[in-house]
Symmetry: C3
């Protein structure tokens, strides 16, 4: 059995942003030497999420717009905004999830043609966001 | 340590549809020979999701209606609809997630009485949807 | 390879409630003896969810309010409410997910400073909610 952990560091530039991390995640799977198992992609944050979808610029805008519409940044109804003006980002992170998991088969991360992996920033810009990739298998 | 991977193929018939895949997932767990570990249920698609809930016909309609209300099929505000008329399905797939994971204890997938496993189709009908089950443990 | 499973039992007191289960989850990781791997936190219910976020009282209220606004308890549009008045809780549980997964590195569950782990009750009060923690690794 093998367990391989790698940390990916990402800088973000906008309040809402989707950063494609497919390449470093797949690199971690290759480095792990795992032939069959799983790969966990986990952001150590409470105001960001990890999602998988198509890397198409229009869709990236659509997802950011939907997330903003749903989470309502700056709304006076959020009590947490009295402490820190980012309740919307906490809510999105909590409900959409900070991790996604993929099968690993024959040494490769399994994903569909349109499943790129993204860090979903909801409270940027941030100097450094951390994503942990844990590859586990044989 | 054992890792067992199985592919489930599903045909869908409606734009929004919930297809119960509990039986083939549990079959994969039995075939794996894994006594204790986890089972990952992963759809290789960017316009579908995997969820777990009660198999009750009224609730199935409710979930489909909520997903449609949230994702707004055909809306002119989605830029991706200029390329392909399915932005709503991408958004739902990205935010609800393409996978669910279950414990395996004493050779059986652990789930509550009301936790059936479903493929959530949001861009059907499709000739073939693929779900990968990875069972990992000892 | 090690697989360790622990059951956490939680009593809930409100219809919508966030119960912090970080301590017993971290205890399970310590008890497991796993140095590197993953920890799955899974609720065996179809009207509750597991999420991770900051334990701040204002934010807890915000998340409960957002979940209620999104799921619309008591709405006459939910067909499942003709059987059992909790369609909203099923919908939230299905879409937000009943599990979260964390890396385990050097014997410790990896989480950010603001990532506490919560059971999200949406159909309380309940005498007993069950959360299964499966720690898997080496």
């Amino acid at each position: 059995m093998k367990v391989y952990t790698k940390e990916i560091k990402v800088r973000t530039h906008e309040r809402f942003e989707l950063i494609d991390i497919t390449d470093p995640v797949e690199e971690a799977v290759r480095e792990s030497g795992v032939r069959n198992g799983i790969a966990l992609v986990f952001a150590t944050h409470a105001t960001a999420a990890v999602i998988a979808n198509e890397h198409e610029q229009g869709l990236i805008e659509d997802i950011k717009n939907k997330v903003a519409e749903f989470t309502e940044p700056g709304s006076s109804k959020w009590r947490h905004n009295m402490i820190d003006d980012n309740a919307h980002a906490h809510i999105g992170s909590a409900l959409f999830g900070q991790e996604r998991i993929f099968p690993v088969v024959n040494g490769r991360l399994v994903r569909g043609v349109w499943q790129n992996i993204f860090l979903l920033e909801m409270d940027g810009p941030r100097h450094e966001r951390r994503v942990i990739v844990t590859v586990l298998g044989e």
